[in-house]
Symmetry: C2
Subunit: 224 residues, 2 copies
Amino acid sequence: IIEFDQVWKIFGAGESETIALQNVDLTVETGEFVSIIGPSGCGKSTLLRLIADLLPPSKGDIRVNGKTPRQARLDRDYGMVFQAPTLYEWRTVLKNVELPLEVMRSAREDKRGRAVKMLDLVGLSDFQNHYPRQLSGGMQQRVSIARALVFEPTLILMDEPFGALDEFTRERLNLELLDIWAETHKTVIFVTHSISEAVFLSSRVVVMTPRPGKIARIIDIDLS
Amino acid sequence: IIEFDQVWKIFGAGESETIALQNVDLTVETGEFVSIIGPSGCGKSTLLRLIADLLPPSKGDIRVNGKTPRQARLDRDYGMVFQAPTLYEWRTVLKNVELPLEVMRSAREDKRGRAVKMLDLVGLSDFQNHYPRQLSGGMQQRVSIARALVFEPTLILMDEPFGALDEFTRERLNLELLDIWAETHKTVIFVTHSISEAVFLSSRVVVMTPRPGKIARIIDIDLS
Ligand SMILES: Nc1ncnc2c1ncn2[C@@H]1O[C@H](COP(=O)(O)OP(=O)(O)OP(=O)(O)O)[C@@H](O)[C@H]1O
Ligand SMILES: Nc1ncnc2c1ncn2[C@@H]1O[C@H](COP(=O)(O)OP(=O)(O)OP(=O)(O)O)[C@@H](O)[C@H]1O
Ligand SMILES: [Mg+2]
Ligand SMILES: [Mg+2]
């Protein structure tokens, strides 16, 4: 479902050249839960941005559901949670979560119902009519998770979605995410700094080297 | 050095009233390393913002170094690391770190030297002339840590400073911070989601309840 074929990403040139990703080969199959771990600055967000057509590769090829990243983005094949919450300040929490359904001109009559259900999942039912700036850092991140899941995408890209959360909330959302994955067979690509979280959630863990980011090893997790 | 006397912080009114902090009494002595832990949305950032005069209390009194929070802010008594990096996009990394020294019209001739030393501490010597948008999430956060420390403040307020970092970088910076604290006897107020980090770094750990945020308990850590 996702294929990286000898992918490089280089920023800048000459003296200020930074090789963010070097010769990355990676295949993610449908229904897998793959975590990506590695040191700060090693290329994890860059990898996700390449999948999401937010950046072009410098060399090599990327396929998402058999299409170019651009086409997959236009077809809205996936939901994405960014490393920083990216909510619209002028929309309420509920309206922020409903946004993907509006944009897709979803025929669903239950747009509101879907959004409310997702907010309940992340523990923010009491804040539907609040504005993002009235929420704590972790609460804003949870709204952006609800938004990424609301249109039930078959592929989800998550860049350290639980980083701003305390351990209890994080563990609870880990379990919720695992439930969703088990029930719906979504494909998940999950960047995290927590090794234990990666091992808990994933069917495979991709370990990256420090810059220039290469894949150091891929660990298969035996799911019983 | 920091005193909270029956402090409340209430946002909104009527139906949309949120009690962020309820009847908080807290004293932090000079030279202490105090961590604040608690669930997402419980009031940790609010507590720090009250100390830093970014918000007024709804009830109660706050003293910082015997002054009002406003006076302590005008006198630049402390450095602060926010939950999200707050760098100036149009300044290089080095210039961002030098900023407090410029603002204080520091007589130090070695402004540049101080800034370079701090960047080296957080592992970003190679990125002095980069701009914030060229850095990863964790790298930007590390720049904001370097900036908070550069003018050697006697009080440091840190709101989840290492949240965006991988475990190795985080542990290394924990050790650096502990060294700095041991050598310079600074007072540190440190918000974290990691219980193990709080126990490792602190002389006392303040545990907060879920909203409305109250102090549930204060744990003394025996430092040998
Ligand atoms: N400007 C505001 N208006 C209304 N409510 C606010 C405002 N700022 C914060 N709050 C509320 O106050 C509560 C505490 O927020 P705070 O940011 O202190 O939480 P926190 O403990 O730092 O959370 P996190 O761990 O997620 O960063 C939250 O319920 C939040 O929604
Ligand atoms: N627009 C850009 N211009 C120049 N360099 C960039 C740009 N974007 C990213 N980089 C560099 O590419 C490298 C990888 O960045 P990336 O954001 O992918 O790291 P990361 O693994 O997500 O780090 P973190 O864990 O801190 O979020 C970093 O060294 C960064 O400075
Ligand atoms: Mg990143
Ligand atoms: Mg906070």
